[in-house]
Amino acid sequence: MRLSNRLKPFYTPLLLTAIVLLVAVLTELISMSLLVRIVTVMFVSLILVLGLQLFMGNSGILSFAHIGFMGIGAYTSVLFSMTPAAKTLANPEMYPFLVTLHLPFLPAVLMGALFATFIAAVISFPLMRLSDAAAVITTFALLVISHVVLVHLDRVTNGPRTLFGVDFKTTLWTSVVFAVITIFAVFMFKESRVGLRLRATRDDAYAAASIGINMVVMRWLAFTASAFLAGIGGALWAHFITSFSPYSFYLTETFVILAMLVIGGPYSVSGAVVGTLVVTATREILRAIENYINILQVFPEGFFGFTEVVLAIVLILILVFRPSGIMGSREFTWPPRSRKEDYLGADQAANPNQ
């Protein structure tokens, strides 16, 4: 059948979309507001994890900067989407030219993503030629810089204080639509020529250079694209949570998104999806336990941090026993077959930096 042949290369994203839709439909049917909230946040996190996968999975470089771009996207999008009145109320000190900005929701989200992309494009180019170790440190530096700037640009972000009054726009199905689009986008990037070339540099930088692949450009393209997705994720999250501060875009968030990606499997799109699902489910269960224990008032100081401790332990266990994550660099395919990627050696999948 010609249709099935044309669809074959897209089996993976289609399967993943099916999973997403299944979860969404179930949530809709069960219709508990808490569940709807959890699942919506999960899909927004999925967008962030997918964005990180696009860069990390294909380039092999650990990037801490991702959540920084999330923050930039979040703040930029709300600066556009909030009415001038709302902005003046939330942050009386805001620069006048920012107060006057106003766009509908979707264009605002786009502006958020584009601004994050712009920043990423401009500052990251010289960084992409750094060795892996130095690259990681610079991405960490970027995260710190973005955090410090967000915390201290009072007249833009309201400083360390909460910025409130954002319209709630990210419904369950809004997040589903964006998530599905992102799944396809990240998958297509992976299968594109840029993705292929980038992975070649990941596996063997010298060999790749010898056949003319420009590692710096490939990395830069991936980094910029991933910043775009981080911006989208940030914008959607901002319009879900409706009030936030720069502290939502720092180390804790970075840890969670990184854990989702690594536990699921950083080398495949399916890994990003699986990781997000598994970690969200685990966290919610643990959080429920945490809340229950808190209600019982067993511990006088409160029972906090349990979720993070367990998550950290799980992450370490995965790194020790199954470093390529649950998916182990494989994608979901149909019919289900155990098949390593053609361009990955068995050991290379587990040891990107060897």
């Binding site: 440190i137 840890f255 409160g302 029972f303 993070e308 370490i316 790194l319 990107p352």
Partner: protein
């Protein structure tokens, strides 16, 4: 104003930062690992002091010693349990592990003790000052400088005159080669982690000594300082770490004096931009190494 008080305070800060950077570089030099959990070792030192000063009548000197010991054992423990199994895999895996360990320790403290700040009773000495050449200098600062000197002397002696020390320096040059010569990898790495823990413990005494309280997140600011100081110093050499610590302290102190108030808050951001620039332009840091050139012929 640049006066004697400023100079002494800057030297004291530099001493603190130098010891801080040393603990980070000693691991980086051998494993290329930035130990994100390093800040949490300071937190451990702080909580040890909190637990002991509150509950027991032990003298402050003993408590300090125990705080350093606690940091050292925690460091060794994390190496054994988290880093060693991942070491053979990849640097990225180790980096993520160190991030996870950091989160684990932080939230562990949150869980076991409390999210609220805990007061640490400081010794009388830390609150008194002495007059030197007409300016009032806190004893704490003098102790920091003295401790730094003592630590540097001891460390230098260890590295120069013991076989283990020579092995550590060799491992920083070429880890695989030391193994080929028969030096056990685990011994070298455990020693490095132990030293790292000791440095963190010592730093925690003086860091907590400034604020008199400890929280689960107290490890984050010193980690960032160690980061910057290390990069400035070139990340490879211990001398570089010490120099980096003093340079950073000087820059920060000078910025504090000369930077207009609106930009002061962005000091940290400036330092990290500086970090990126160094990594781009002169990744070997600002310290020139005398052995970096090989004669031809």
């Amino acid at each position: 104003m640049i006066n004697l008080e400023f100079i002494i305070n800057t030297i004291s800060l530099g001493s603190l930062y130098a010891m801080l950077a040393l603990g980070l570089v000693i691991i980086y030099g051998i494993l290329r690992l930035v130990n994100f959990a390093y800040g949490e070792l300071i937190m451990i030192g702080g909580y040890t002091m909190f637990l002991l000063t509150g509950a027991t009548p032990l003298p402050w000197l003993v408590i300090s010693f125990l705080a350093v010991a606690a940091a050292m054992f925690t460091s060794l423990f994390t190496e054994l349990v988290a880093f060693r199994p991942v070491r053979e895999k990849s640097l990225t895996a180790m980096l993520i592990t160190s991030f996870a360990v950091s989160t684990l320790l932080q939230n562990g403290a949150l869980l076991i003790i409390s999210p609220r700040a805990r007061a640490v009773t400081l010794p009388q000495l830390f609150q008194t000052s002495v007059m030197i050449a007409g300016t009032s200098v806190p004893w704490r600062n003098i102790l920091t400088i003295l401790t730094c000197i003592a630590t540097l002397v001891l460390l230098t002696m260890l590295l120069r005159y013991t076989v283990l020390g020579i092995a550590l320096r060799a491992a920083a040059d070429n880890f695989t080669m030391t193994r080929i010569l028969g030096v056990p990898a685990n011994t070298v790495i455990s020693t490095a982690f132990a030293i790292s823990g000791i440095m963190a413990g010592i730093v925690s005494i003086f860091w907590i000594g400034r604020s008199a309280s400890v929280t689960p997140t107290i490890g984050a600011p010193p980690l960032l300082v160690a980061f910057v100081a290390t990069v400035i110093g070139g990340m490879r050499s211990l001398t570089g770490a010490v120099v980096g610590g003093f340079v950073y302290a000087t820059i920060i102190s000078l910025l504090g004096v000369f930077l207009p108030p609106e930009l002061m808050e962005f000091r940290e951001a400036f330092m990290f931009v500086f970090v990126i620039i160094i990594l781009l332009v002169r990744p070997q840091g600002l310290v020139r190494s005398k052995t970096s050139v090989e004669r031809m012929g």
